[in-house]
């Protein structure tokens, strides 16, 4: 009897499959641009929903994370199981499941299919990459396969958009026909144990634990025991424990029950279905791999590729960032011309325009890095890179996949942290994210350049190779790396403890990247940054602007106002030689803004924290510049410009600012403010501190919790403070 389709809501389809099977391509092909991306509550798994229309009905497609098995080992992996079992309330139970499999690697892919069939839900198998299979000389009897597994199998070619209509037809059909019975590959004894626990659960609750979940509880390797799932009562736990004991007594290891049962099912099902050539045919992919994963050539190619990526993010992106900045500067000038001087104009120029600019300047770096990453990922190189780098990265307690996020962080931590998504293991991903901001990014360069050129005497250490200033530069990068290694080591032994995750990684066949997937991924990352992080960065920029602008009243400083007014009127009346007057006026205006910043909340905060920064050898003005640079490190240069009476248009190359810093003395004394140790301590502070609201916003987004963003800020600021203190203290011994 045909079943009726659910009415009154879109039909829900869950899309699952192994990684590297073209699942994203199929998801894109089914839902087009109508996608919504979010996070599942409490975990760092991306929730991707798409919508489609088939036969006049609305469908919601739930794209589950790629996985080899539905045996959850972590909270993140549990999400897929919960969605499929209808236990994830924010998406609802899927009406049907589409399982995409790689035809060229059918056996391993059928492992997941076998688990999905165990759920007894309407299911369709999409057999992708038939072209790759036939290039390997593999022939698949699709009709026989479908007959054996009892569900419709549709050959498709997702990247060429072939077979999609058949697939949609099959999905609709599966919803209307009863689910064929599936004989579980587990032994009768095992199934009896599952049924017995199910009976216990049924007596206790109107919604008993699903059979699949009971299988998981019996076969658990540790995670479910810790997780304390809802519905798992004390009597269920004790029944599971005794079932485990009985099963362990009759078979060898509990852990191997499932793989042995499922692989023997797979061998039966694929008997005469897969026809392989007798001789292993070296494919195009094999020949590429022979060179690319070669221990010497492969490493050379990898180094070259990394150099190209680094150069692109570090060398080319700033060109586009400069374009954006000058565009925004133009816009600021235009806005400034429209508004009369005052709070609104200052808000628009120094708050809004600077805030928007602060968000947009990151886009070129994000776009360029993710263009490379998406290409490398989609063509199959990414896992080779992780393979080549694993040994060196595991020496510092991470795995090969941490390399690219950390390398990118030398250009900018924001795209670097976003790139950490490729690391499936939660602990390794978190550690990578937490240490990534310690890599010296390009925003630190202005600080390093300004202070090195102002205070580090230039002399040659090794002719042609090393000068004193490049040594200081190198040391700043080196400190970041050393501290990152130590922090990673410490995190692994304290708050992010856990067993070393396995490095059992598929090296997928190479393929030509799908430009739609590549561009979509770049767009997705850029949008995620602008939308999720951008709002916060913008808000903080306005807050810091307000702190520097207020309190402000005409009465507070009548001296400047009257003097400026009288000068302005003199300027207007004198038509001839007014250069000198203009210079005086400019100086007055600068003095006024310096006095203003001193009086502002920001200045007050600087003076307030002076006792804190005194041990570092800093006065309130340096403290104030550091506080003001919370939105972004490079802001410190223009803030120093304002504080040292030069206006806010200073950059790191400015000779004027350099001289002003050299001349600066402690207030009310002749003692120079910046000595070599103090300059170095400011640089060390900036090498290690978390003065970058974009980084903190992206940490919060990627780790799905404010606590980690706060943690990053606190630990980095703490480290930066201690290191700056030590620099001044040790430095003063030598001076």
């Amino acid at each position: 009897m045909p079943k009726t389709l659910p009415a009154g809501r879109p039909i829900r389809i869950a899309l699952c499959g192994n990684p590297n099977t073209g699942k994203s391509t199929l998801f894109g092909a089914l839902s087009g641009v109508r996608q919504r991306v979010g996070n599942y509550p409490g975990v760092t798994v991306e929730k991707k929903l798409g919508s489609a229309k088939m036969n006049g009905r609305d469908y919601t497609i739930i794209d589950l994370p790629g996985t080899y098995s539905l045996a959850p080992q972590s909270m993140d992996e549990m999400v897929s199981v919960d969605v499929l079992l209808g236990r994830q309330e924010d998406v609802g139970q899927p009406d049907a499941i589409v399982c995409i499999v790689d035809a060229s690697n059918l056996q391993r892919n059928l492992y997941l299919v076998c688990q999905v069939l165990e759920l007894h839900r309407p299911t369709v198998v999409a057999l992708n990459m038939m072209d790759v299979a036939s290039s390997k000389g593999i022939d698949i009897n699709v009709a026989l396969l479908a007959e054996r597994i009892g569900v419709t199998v549709v050959p498709i070619q997702a990247n060429a958009r072939k077979g999609l209509d058949d697939l949609k037809q099959a999905i609709v059909q599966s919803l209307q026909t009863p689910v064929a019975p599936f004989r579980s590959p587990f032994s009768e004894a095992f199934c009896a144990e599952v049924q017995q626990i199910h009976d216990i659960s049924s007596q206790e609750s109107a919604t008993p634990l699903p059979h699949y979940l009971i299988q998981r509880l019996i076969l658990d390797t540790g995670y479910l025991h810790e997780a304390k799932l809802p519905g798992v009562s004390a009597s269920v736990i004790s029944a599971v424990d005794s079932a485990r004991q009985r099963l362990a007594a009759t078979s060898d290891e509990l852990v191997s029950i499932e793989p042995i049962a499922r692989y023997s099912w797979i061998n039966q099902v694929t008997q005469d279905v897969i026809c392989r050539p007798d001789e292993h045919r070296a494919t195009f992919s094999d020949r590429i791999d022979h060179v690319v994963t070669h221990r010497i050539m492969g490493t050379g190619i990898f180094a070259l590729l990394m150099l190209i990526i680094f150069q692109a993010v570090f060398g080319f992106a700033p060109f586009f960032s400069d374009l954006i900045e000058s565009g925004i500067g133009e816009m600021g000038g235009w806005v400034g011309g429209l508004l009369p001087p005052g709070a609104l104009r200052s808000l628009m120029l120094n708050g809004v325009v600077a805030g928007v600019g602060g968000v947009l300047v990151f886009l070129p770096q994000i776009a360029i890095l993710f263009l490379f990453i998406a290409i490398l990922e989609d063509c199959g190189y990414m896992s080779r890179a992780a393979y080549l780098m694993d040994k060196s990265m595991s020496a510092i307690g991470l795995n090969g996949k941490s390399f690219i996020p950390l390398l990118s962080s030398f250009a900018c931590a924001v795209p670097g942290i976003m790139a950490a998504r490729v690391i499936e293991n939660r602990r390794d991903r978190f550690i990578t994210i937490l240490v990534a901001p310690l890599m010296s990014c390009s925003a630190r360069i202005p600080v390093y350049v300004l202070l090195t050129s102002a205070f580090i005497p230039s002399f040659t250490i090794v002719p042609w190779i090393l000068s004193s200033r490049s040594l200081v530069f190198f040391l700043m990068y080196f400190i970041g790396i050393v501290v990152a290694v130590l922090v990673a080591w410490l995190l692994k032994r304290t708050i992010l403890k856990g067993e070393t995750p396995p490095f059992v990684m598929e090296l997928p066949s190479y393929k030509v990247p799908d430009w739609r997937i590549v561009l979509h991924r770049v767009w997705e990352r850029c949008w995620a940054f602008v939308y999720r992080a951008g709002t916060l960065i913008f808000a903080v920029s306005i807050l810091v602007w307000a702190a520097g602008y207020y309190p402000r009243s005409a009465q507070s400083d009548p001296g400047f106002a009257t003097e400026i007014a009288s000068l302005e009127s003199q300027l207007e009346s004198s038509d001839g030689d007014s250069n000198e007057l203009e210079l005086i006026l400019e100086r007055l205006q600068r003095d006024q803004s310096a006095a203003q910043i001193r009086r502002s909340y920001l200045g007050q905060a600087g003076q307030c924290i002076e006792p804190v920064v005194r041990p570092l050898g800093w006065d309130w003005r340096i403290g104030c510049a550091v506080v003001a640079s919370f939105p972004a490190r490079e802001v410190v240069v223009s803030t120093l410009g304002v504080i040292f009476n030069l206006g806010d248009e200073q950059d790191e190359g400015s000779a004027e600012l350099r001289d002003a810093l050299r001349r600066a003395t402690w207030e009310g004394s002749e003692r120079p403010l910046f000595t070599i140790p103090v300059a170095l301590s400011v640089m060390v502070f900036f090498a290690l501190c978390a003065q970058c609201v974009s980084t903190l916003a992206i940490i919060r987004r990627e780790m799905n919790s404010w606590r980690w963003a706060v943690f990053s800020f606190v630990y980095m600021t703490g480290l930066a403070y201690v290191a700056a203190f030590l620099t001044t203290w040790i430095g003063n011994w030598f001076v």
Partner: protein, 76 residues
């Protein structure tokens, strides 16, 4: 007993069993290193670790420490 970690580039073997009872063992089994599966040793990364193998026609990389859990019978 010979393990996967003892093999040399180019050699072939059949999986006998995977020792251990934790999630790493489960992952190795799930990825196709179940008893009876045939594999060949393709190569190693620069420092000799991890290793690359071919199982049932696809490429898999594992660390040597993990490969040492996989007991194999070499095929000539």
């Amino acid at each position: 007993m010979t393990t996967l970690a003892d093999l040399h580039v180019g050699s072939r073997a059949q999986v006998a069993r995977v020792v251990g009872s934790d999630s790493i063992t489960l992952r190795l089994l799930e990825m196709g290193l179940a008893p009876g599966a045939q594999l060949s040793f393709v190569g190693t990364a620069m420092l000799g670790d991890p290793i690359e193998i071919d199982v049932n026609g696809y490429r898999l990389s594992v660390r040597k420490s993990e490969a040492a859990r996989v007991q194999v019978t070499p095929i000539d």
